[in-house]
């Protein structure tokens, strides 16, 4: 038989190719249901990509301008719904910065302990989902089990599993329960065990490592210019953590390390989150040790904090105070403020503009995800189609936060 390519050798036929337009998402599991990527493919490699967000836009910033400052808490809960406690505390801190008040020590430790638990749940979700998308379903189930332990604890503390709306300007909605310290310690210990198991299962897995290592690399300058913060920026080797750089609450008094990556690939982003959970466990341990068992949680200012219920029902002053705070809202001084905390995905900031009335003039939520997702285009251009899944997973795009 004659070889089939005999004629081709003589006349170099150039096969006509044109890029294929592929639409991934928004209803695609790899896009977490809220992002659409229009890709121009040449074979399997991505030539051009247009990342489109906004499918989960619910107009929170507009809604915030209609109620009182306290009524914003449910909205910020629903921005990063995997770690709502961090958002709650971040917003409370922004309002407190404007009012110029500081919450009592017990509340600060309480906020930190709850916040670090929320950070753990955030990272567990991200790393678990990332593993699942690469075919490792068992670690996902283990990590979600760990996340559920945190949510059970949160339910005990706040009454809700996910959207707690537990923060208040000037304190928290309720003091810590009697069993909080014990439960938090038990949960964080169990999560450390889960992380250990997950590490044993994944970090020796050649397939898993091959999908992540040297995939989705971004340079430090690019990451900085794109406004990346949080674990994604730290994976590039920059130790920028709001908790260290400009400590709030009691973060300057606790001992913890900031893990950084070296190659800024997907694997680094995965590992930074794993290490951060271990650091969170350290912080929780210190918070529990130093949180007083008794004492006030809320500041003692009747213009900011609702009076206790027995005063509301039995004294005229309490009734009036309650009525004024509920109906008119607490008054923040006119002006503007930008306050930022370390959220699950990075610098979670609030730019608040108040006109002095009880209604916010403008509430701008600075979403870390939004800026991280804007870098997706740079991360995946030129890579293979299959790399989109680990790259996108490692950025931890939370739809509610990105689109608000």
């Amino acid at each position: 038989m004659e070889p089939l390519d005999q004629e081709l050798d003589e006349s170099e036929i150039e096969l006509p190719t044109e890029p294929m337009l592929l639409n991934v998402g928004p209803a695609h599991p790899a896009m977490h249901g809220t992002v659409r990527c229009v890709m121009e493919l040449s074979g399997e490699s991505i030539q051009k990509v247009d990342v489109q967000v906004g499918y989960l836009h619910r107009g929170f910033e507009k809604m915030c301008e209609r109620g009182t400052w306290t009524q914003i808490f449910p909205y910020v809960d629903r921005t990063n719904y995997v770690s709502p406690m961090l958002c709650n505390v971040g917003f409370a801190l922004a309002c407190e910065k404007m009012l110029g008040v500081t919450v009592p020590e017990r509340c600060q430790w309480y906020r930190m302990a709850l916040g670090e638990l929320a950070r753990m749940s955030d990272h567990l979700t991200c790393d678990g989902a990332m593993a699942m998308e690469l075919g490792a379903f068992t670690p996902f189930l283990w990590m979600i089990k760990g996340r559920d332990m945190i949510w059970d604890l949160m339910e005990e503390e706040t009454g809700a599993r996910m959207t707690h709306s537990f923060g208040r300007v000037g304190g928290m909605a309720a003091p810590p329960t009697a069993g909080f310290k014990e439960n938090a310690r038990a949960v964080s210990e169990q999560i450390l065990k889960i992380i250990e198991e997950v590490e044993r299962l994944l970090l020796g897995n050649r397939i898993f490592l091959d999908r992540l290592e040297n995939v989705g690399i971004i340079s430090q300058e690019d990451a900085l210019s794109l406004g990346w913060t949080g674990p994604c920026l730290r994976a590039t080797g920059l130790p920028y953590d709001v908790r260290k750089a400009s400590p709030y609450l009691k973060y300057d008094e606790v001992d913890f390390d900031v893990p950084v990556g070296s190659t800024s690939d997907c694997f680094d982003r995965f590992m930074v989150r794993i290490e951060e959970m271990k650091q969170s466990a350290r912080i929780i341990e210190q918070c529990i040790a130093r949180m007083p068992d008794s004492g006030p949680v809320n500041i003692d200012d009747p213009r900011i904090i609702l009076p206790p219920k027995d005063e509301v029902y039995n004294t005229i002053e309490g009734t009036i105070q309650h009525f004024k705070i509920v109906m008119e809202g607490l008054k923040l001084p006119a002006g503007e403020v930008y306050a930022y905390t370390e959220g699950g995905n990075g610098e979670y900031g609030f730019y608040l503009v108040s006109d002095g009335s009880g209604t916010p003039w403008r509430v701008r939520i600075r979403p870390p995800c939004f800026y991280v997702t804007s870098g997706l285009e740079r991360v995946i251009t030129g890579r293979m189609m299959a790399d989109v899944v680990p790259c996108f997973g490692s950025l931890n795009m939370i739809g509610g936060e990105c689109d608000r």
Binding site: L21, Q52, V53, G54, H57, G59, E61, K62, M63, E65, R66, K97, M98, G100, D222, L224, S225, L226, G227, L238, Y240, A245, S246, G335, E336, V337, Y338, Y340, E347, G349, Y351, V353, W361, R362, R364, R366, F370, Y371, S374, G375, R378, D403, R404
Partner: protein, 197 residues
């Protein structure tokens, strides 16, 4: 904190700074819109400022003012550890011509942030490479975060988009489309026949 930055910019651009304050510890410069890009570039490139990161860019609507909108940018220097907020005032009271120079060539994060400010407030960033809506859909009417946009406004229904270069449109044939839509098994055919009878 970074009070010296305010002095530095005021000395360097004497005509550009309208106002400055440090309320709540946030150093703020209000700039002339004409020198918006120049000051931003100075803040990024000068080693005494070294603002490597544009943390956030947004706008605020003050319908009673002229110029009506404020574009607000928060900058952060990781190496020097200071922050500054710069603002500029743009737009006529009707909000029809709202223009300011784009700074997306200086920081990558300004790209999407300016698209969002355009989407929400209708601020047109001159020189932006790809200024289109980002959170809303292209057919959206109006700018939702403006104060004169009612929160309960209902948007018009939009027709199907005309998509060019789509080779195949529904209805699909028997062997096309989703597997669950294929009516190749005998049960489906039989029931169809029964219905038609």
């Amino acid at each position: 904190m970074a009070k010296h930055l305010i002095d530095l910019v005021t000395q360097k651009f004497p005509g550009a700074v309208i106002q400055s304050h440090s309320n709540h510890g946030d150093d703020t410069l209000v700039l002339e819109a004409a020198s918006w890009h120049d000051v931003a570039q100075f803040l990024r490139d000068d080693p005494r400022c070294a603002m490597q990161m544009l943390v956030d860019l947004t706008a605020v609507d003050y319908p009673d003012r002229d110029p009506r909108f404020e574009v607000v940018v928060h900058l952060h220097s990781l190496t020097l550890g200071h922050r500054i907020r710069i603002k500029t005032r743009v737009g006529d009271p009707d909000g029809e011509v709202v223009r300011v120079a784009s700074i997306s060539d200086l920081w990558g994060s300004a790209n999407w942030a300016e698209r969002e400010a355009y989407d929400m407030f209708g601020v047109e960033f001159v020189g932006h490479p790809d200024l289109r809506r980002i959170l809303m859909y292209p057919e959206f009417v109006g700018y939702p975060l403006r104060k004169d946009y009612p929160a309960d406004k209902i948007q018009p229904l939009i027709a199907y988009r005309e998509v060019e270069n789509i080779e195949k449109l529904p209805p699909f044939g028997k062997d096309e489309g989703m597997s669950f839509g294929r009516q190749t098994h005998s049960y489906g055919q039989r029931s169809n026949e029964q219905e038609s009878n």
